[in-house]
């Protein structure tokens, strides 16, 4: 049977990809685009680190302010938020539930085009009008209203990207409700599917809020409407609320599917069913639900009333519990397993370690009194990168190494993957752990320049960024070589039990010759002797 790569349908060449409604082709295209933007965003981050060991030598202050803004916008809106759902979600959701495609394949293609349009507009905004914006990725008013840089076009681009996200959410929620194979009850769904489901709802319900907030900024810039400028009767704190009502749940859009991937990988390499399946599934829903109500913890020093700060702090502590439950269940899954430490498992365990640091430091800054010291410092930058990069980033690498054989039909070099991991792990912790220390010492974020006592921390951090880059070079070189001349991958190289491993690598255009009938849970290693 021919794979979806050779089965192009009616068109061929680029049109065969761009016009395709095959979820696997769309997933591969998204994956390539994400990695492209990730590499741009990361390069900008490395340039920022370079400035910080010798402020002013390599760039001026205006350039630096634009760099950290564009770094944030690209990494967040073009990489992390669409991230796992559009790439691995698109490719594997139908395979995992025994479907031939998503519920609305053409809508899926529209999401992809909107993503491309949004990405194009983001890049265009860097060169048109007043040039690259310098507001930080949070676009706080009234600065975002006053700056002469090209805020409006960039915000419009994010607005478009929001629609792409909403449509993907609608598509996945519908797919999970309607297209599960016969016999796949809710409690027989793989955990990645559960997290995509929870994520889908967050995308649908939260994204419109940011769309409106950004539109209000654009209206204020063009027509002086005065929503957020106090001179015209507006309220800058209102913008902060509206921004975080979306952007906090967006953190869960990023991290929930990442957790789903860890829940897929740990059982396979432990040869064991997932410990506490229901607890892990329901905690995803709990995180998505409570996650809507904690946005105010970004605003503990904003001038918001003390009473609301107390309520938001309480809810923030509550949302930590389901994340903890997940971590405990993953570790318990390893207990009495039969564990093989292949590259995907190493990346997954690294996720658990780094995400735990990110989550636990979240408790520290979630406490009201401690927050008044830590807010707006490098501590927050460190916490954020541990959760986003240590969490979502390492989960993305886990998925890439776990599903690579299925997606590309080739195997990569295991040893090279592990060497690359080692560099990433060392570089990552040097780069970001030093930021925790800088933060406790009082180093404010978004500073182009700083008093000399912070130099050592910045130096360690910057050296870490170089080691991290070396790790990425090794990892991606390995995967690119594997695509071109890696040995052919078998259908099920890791001994997985979920449905994607029952079809050829890479899968055929229609996924399943015959839709399977499901009779048991997803991670059944019971009596099957290997």
């Amino acid at each position: 049977m021919s794979s979806f790569y050779s089965d192009t349908g009616q068109r061929s060449g680029i049109a065969g990809w761009m016009m395709s409604v095959d979820h696997k082709r769309i997933g591969i295209m998204y994956l390539s685009a994400l990695l492209l933007f990730f590499s741009i965003g990361t390069s900008l981050g490395v340039m920022m680190r370079l400035n910080l060991i010798s402020p002013g030598t390599f760039m001026g202050v205006h350039t630096y302010n634009r760099l950290f803004t564009i770094h944030g916008i690209i990494q967040i809106f073009l990489f992390i938020i669409p991230g796992i759902p559009v790439s691995f979600g698109n490719f594997f959701l139908p395979l995992l539930i025994g479907a031939r495609d998503v519920a609305f394949p053409r809508l899926n293609r529209l999401s992809w085009w909107l993503y491309l349009a949004g990405a194009f507009l983001v890049l265009a905004s860097l060169f048109l009008g007043g040039g690259a914006l310098d507001t930080g990725w949070t676009f706080y008013a009234p600065y975002s209203i006053k700056t002469k840089t090209n805020v409006s076009l960039a915000l419009f681009a994010v607005f478009i990207l929001g629609f792409s996200s909403i449509l993907t959410g609608v598509n996945f929620v519908t797919t999970i409700h309607r297209l599960r194979a016969p016999g796949m009850k809710w409690h027989r769904m793989p955990l990645f599917v559960w997290t995509l489901y929870a994520t889908g709802w967050v995308q649908i319900l939260a994204t419109p809020v940011i769309a409106i907030s950004l539109l209000l900024i654009i209206l204020e810039r063009f027509f002086g409407m005065g929503f957020f400028d106090p001179l015209k009767g507006g309220d800058p704190v209102l913008f902060e609320h509206m921004f975080w009502i979306y952007s906090h749940p967006a953190v869960y859009i990023m991290i929930l599917p990442a957790m789903g991937i860890i829940s897929e990988v740990v059982p396979v390499f432990a040869r064991k069913t997932l410990f506490g399946y229901r607890a892990v599934a329901y905690s995803a829903l709990a995180i998505a639900g409570v996650g809507y109500l904690v946005w105010g913890h970004h605003m503990f020093t904003s001038g918001m009333s003390d009473a609301s700060r107390v309520v938001f702090s309480l809810l923030t502590f509550i949302v930590a519990v389901p994340s903890g439950i997940k971590v405990f269940n993953w570790v318990a899954t390893l207990y009495k397993g039969s564990i093989r430490v292949d590259a995907p498992l190493i990346f997954a365990l690294t996720f658990i370690f780094l995400f735990s640091i990110g989550g636990l430091t979240g408790l520290i800054q979630g406490a009201l009194s401690a927050n008044l010291h830590l807010h707006g410092t490098y501590w927050i930058v460190a916490h954020f990168h541990y959760v986003m990069f240590g969490g979502m980033g390492f989960s993305f690498l886990t998925a890439l190494h776990y599903w690579f054989p299925k997606m590309f039909g080739r195997m990569y070099n295991e040893r090279q993957a592990k060497i690359g991991w080692f560099f990433l792990f060392v570089g990552f912790n040097m780069l970001y752990f030093s930021m925790f220390i800088l933060g406790v010492q009082g180093m404010p974020r978004r500073y182009f320049d700083y008093p000399p006592e912070y130099f050592t921390g910045h130096l360690v951090s910057t050296i870490g960024s170089w080691i991290l880059v070396a790790g990425f070079v090794i990892v991606f070189r390995n995967l690119i070589i594997a695509i071109r001349k890696g040995p052919k991958a078998p259908d099920n190289p890791w001994g997985g039990t979920t449905l994607e491993w029952k079809v050829p690598s890479p899968p055929p255009h229609e996924n399943f010759e015959e839709i399977p009938v499901i009779t048991r849970g997803p991670y059944h290693y019971g009596n099957d002797k290997k």
């Binding site: 069913t273 702090s313 430490v341």
Partner: protein, 300 residues
Amino acid sequence: MKPGITNIVSAVDSTFLFITVTSVVLLVLVTFFMLYFVVKYNRKRHPQAEQIEGNLLLEIVWTVIPTVLVLLMFYYGWVNFSYMRNAPDDAMTVKVTGMMWSWQFEYKNGKQSNTLNVPLGKPVNLILSSADVIHSLYIPAFRIKEDAVPGLKTHLWFTPNEIGSYDIFCTEYCGTGHSHMLSKVVVMTGEDFEKWYGTAAPQGAKDRGLNLLQVKGCLGCHTTDGTGKIGPTFKGIFGRKEIVITGGKERDIVADEEYLKKSVLQPEADIVKGYPPIMPVIPVTSGELDDIIEALKGLK
């Protein structure tokens, strides 16, 4: 135990320490079990996994214990926070205005300063606001921070316990000069403070003007010694010939009184060639403006 540089320090540090220690214990436990299982149940040693679906008791234990722990953390943070937010009635009030890119402190008797001078051992209550965009006043050594928001009054308080000079940073990104929006808190003895506080404002238009250049934050971007900074230098500015850009077109001007006044009141009207169009509108009275012009005339 040492009282700390201010009364606030222990309220922040004790919460920080309590949660950090608990978190480190949890992290070590999770990491230890993870690595221990990976070694102990390695496939070579343990070829056949035991299928365990879950354990209700364990699920309850690791839901309830963390819940209790985080509620404790929340409570601890809350109690200390309440203390940090309620200044005693006898606190000395200082009005703080953040502006791009300087801080201005105004005392009860109308005295203005660009550093925050305070007497040792006396509670100080800061009432913050902003003249333009959002800023955030942060004194790391004191463990305090609050945003200065235009159109809103926010507050902070502390009692300094040690003589010294401490950094003030802005921690809410506010544009080009954000990382140079620095100032100092100077904690002095009650005697020294009274002496400073009692000094009359400078007399004579020129001296008043020079004081205003500092207090209003002008010197954050303009120098008086002829070197370039974010904006053109004040040295020899009166009567200087400049090329400015007005509405996208270049033209030649002489910096006379009329031009200088316009540059303060409408900083974006004419931009000196080679400098970025970023000067904010800084509120000044017409009397203050006259004094500033007198001072500029004197900077030869």
